[in-house]
């Protein structure tokens, strides 16, 4: 039998437009900031290494842009994975409390194990994210109907509230942790270095590869567990793998950049609106659009907050939360 060669109708055009946007946002991210660069300076920065001020600004901004691209795509894919595993349109690491779990572990690490660099943050953040995800999903799926959006969101919000009071309780007696944490807590890509990019990269690649590998199985899962099993998909294995990949992606990003919310929500819904629910396309395109959204938010933050900057986590929350509200309004009451 011939393999189906189905492509969503607008795939090519959406892809091209996304790439164009990506290029534009990269350029914008290189140019704009506390000190705007000219085209000439950007070009010079690419071509030669000089000791000039403009060149060092360029270097810094290049790192920031690449770092933003990595984080954005990781968060975009994490959003798709969580949404499809929980079969829930409003799953996002920030809404499900996963970010707070990561934060709690990082704070405990700072306070009790004296960790202070991203190498160590990442393992604490990952385990925190993983445990919280399991916990929230466990509570949200108790009872009739499994993990409905409302149940999951409430479980996430409750867990988040519980964990954040623990975070503060750990933090208050230790002012050095408070100072360190205050800057970590606002998700930002400004502090990215080559090291943090290298640190993130293995997790990013593993997560994205795993998710692409899972995509066909997740497509079948979207039909319901029984249908998927009928099609010969090992539902539990794939669901676990996809959830794990999602948590790795958002946990690692949270560790290096701090909690940046709503990227997954924004990216996935935009792409799904254009391309439909096929995950084979949704996953790579969400990575792309996640990166674009994060970069654009970062640029907006730099422009609005100038001469300082508005951290990207703040901007994405301000853009993303209204989307959550729109989704809540659109959903049928019972299906919430």
């Amino acid at each position: 039998m011939e393999r189906s060669r189905y492509y969503p109708k607008q795939f090519t055009s959406v892809f091209v437009v996304s790439v164009v946007f990506l290029v534009l946002s990269v350029i914008a991210s290189l140019i704009f900031g506390a000190r705007s660069l000219t085209w000439q300076e950007v070009l010079d920065g690419f071509l030669q290494h000089s000791e000039s001020f403009a060149s060092s600004v360029f270097q810094k901004r290049l790192i920031r842009t690449i770092f933003g691209l990595c984080c954005g795509s990781a968060l975009g894919v994490a959003g798709v994975l969580m949404q499809s595993v929980t079969r829930n349109p409003i799953a996002d690491p920030s809404i499900l409390g996963v970010n707070t779990g990561a934060a709690l572990f990082v704070v405990c690490g700072m306070a009790f194990f004296q960790i202070s660099d991203a190498n160590h943050y990442i393992w604490f953040a990952l385990s925190g994210a993983l445990l919280t995800a399991i916990f929230v999903f466990g509570i949200g799926s108790i009872g009739r109907g499994g993990a409905t959006p409302l149940k999951l969101v409430l479980a996430g919000a409750a867990t988040s509230a519980a964990l954040s009071s623990l975070v503060t309780a750990v933090m208050i007696p230790r002012s050095y942790v408070m100072n360190q944490f205050r800057f970590w807590q606002v998700g930002s890509v400004g502090a990215g270095t080559w090291d943090s990019i290298l640190l993130l990269l293995p997790f990013l690649l593993t997560g994205i590869l795993a998710s692409i590998f899972c995509a066909p199985a997740l497509n079948a899962l979207a039909l319901g567990d029984e249908a998927a099993q009928g099609l010969g998909v090992k539902t539990n294995v794939f669901r676990l793998a996809a959830a794990f990949a999602g948590v790795i992606l958002c946990g690692a990003t949270t560790a290096v950049a701090g909690p940046i919310g709503f990227i997954g929500l924004l990216a996935t819904h935009m792409i799904r609106l254009l391309l439909g629910p096929d995950l084979r396309f949704l996953i790579p395109m969400s990575a792309l659009s996640g990166a674009v959204i994060l970069l654009v938010s970062d640029v907006i933050g730099r422009l609005v907050g100038s001469p300082g900057e508005l951290e990207v986590g703040v901007v994405t929350a301000l853009i993303g939360a209204p989307l959550l509200i729109i989704l809540a309004r659109k959903a049928k009451v019972r299906s919430l």
Partner: protein, 342 residues
């Protein structure tokens, strides 16, 4: 027939007696906690000195500690706790859902965001801050109500919309904290957790007066609240002007809890815990506004004492109530999920 009336009367009497007894016990408990707040501290002054200071005598040392530190702290805890308890109970009853409270709906965080903005950016006075945070709270509730209304009113949608608004407000608070000056940091942390530290006596009259005006209003409307509990259609049939009562109740509840928030910051979980505890103590079928307020006050005062003296470090009251409240919230969610209420 006569027998039935007799049974009903008896039931009503016993419920009334229970209500009075519970209210009395709660009042005594709150008063005892207030006294404890005045007596304990870094130094423990004899009761005689404290009373003398309160009556206006100048006793070296004790006068400062009691009137400048402990009295405002105690009054703020008492009234803010009362306000949070009443507001939480009102919301829970109005929306017929134990999860509905000013925190979940996102109102508290918008009040906080407005207050932080006033303090850090505008550096405005306390009165302006209170006023702005009340307006912000009311506005948010209005926006959430409009957004959640849709074709038919649904509590699930209301909560989701509220969580969205909360996320926005929290991000604003986080940002404001970051740009805030170093010396504003303790104040900023108060806005994240709620604390009675550093409350000043002159900030309190706003809160006290609004409590004294609004709580009676809520109590008067409380009878209709009791009927609203039966469901909207029944209430309309029984002659309650549901829309007006609801608007008035929401406005009063929002006003007192926003004013309290402007002074103490959002003290976690009090609004959410007070109602269910009061209902458990008194039983349903009675208007539990006053008991709920007293439970709130007792919770805040007791948690503040725990936070001050139980550990080596002094924790603000919001952390203690947060740690008490969170497991209950999770427990409630699990129970609601099991029953299929969500």
């Amino acid at each position: 027939m006569n027998h039935t009336i007799h049974v009903i009367k008896q039931g009503r009497m016993s419920r009334r007696r229970r209500w009075i007894a519970v209210t009395l016990v709660l009042s005594i408990l709150s008063i005892a906690l207030c006294c404890a707040m005045l007596l304990f501290g870094n130094t423990i002054y004899p009761v005689r000195d404290v009373v003398a200071v309160l009556l206006g005598e100048e006793i070296k040392g004790a006068a400062f500690a009691v009137t400048t530190i402990r009295l405002p702290r105690m009054l703020a805890g008492l009234f803010a706790g009362f306000a949070f308890g009443v507001a939480g109970y009102t919301f829970q009853t109005l929306l017929r859902n134990p999860l509905a409270n000013p925190n979940v709906i996102g109102m508290t965080s918008s009040s906080s965001a407005a207050a932080v903005f006033c303090i850090i950016v505008l550096q405005s006075s306390k009165a302006v801050t209170s006023f702005v945070s009340v307006i912000a709270g009311l506005l948010t509730v209005f926006i959430i109500y409009v957004l959640a209304k849709g074709t038919s009113f649904a509590i699930g949608r209301l909560i989701l919309v509220g969580i969205g608004i909360q996320a926005m407000c929290n991000s604003i608070i986080t940002y404001l904290m970051l740009i805030g000056e170093e010396h504003n940091l303790p104040a900023a942390v108060r806005w994240l957790t709620g604390s009675l530290n550093g409350v000043k006596l002159e900030e309190l009259p706003v809160l006290m007066i609004s409590c004294l005006i609004m709580v009676p209003v809520i109590c008067v409307l409380g009878r209709s609240l009791l009927i609203l509990e039966l469901g909207e259609q029944t209430a309309t049939t029984l002659g309650v002007k549901t829309d007006w009562v609801r608007v008035l109740l929401i406005v009063s509840a929002v006003v007192i809890s926003a004013i309290a928030t402007a002074i103490t910051g959002p003290i976690a979980s009090v609004a959410f815990l007070a109602g269910p505890i009061a209902t458990r103590l008194v039983g349903t079928g009675k208007v539990n506004i006053v008991p709920a307020g007293l439970v709130g006050a007792a919770l805040v005062l007791a948690s503040d004492l725990v936070g001050q003296f139980m550990f080596q470090v002094k924790f603000p009251v919001g952390i203690i109530t947060g740690i008490i409240g969170a497991p209950y919230l999770l427990f409630l969610l699990i129970r609601m999920n099991r029953r299929g209420d969500l």
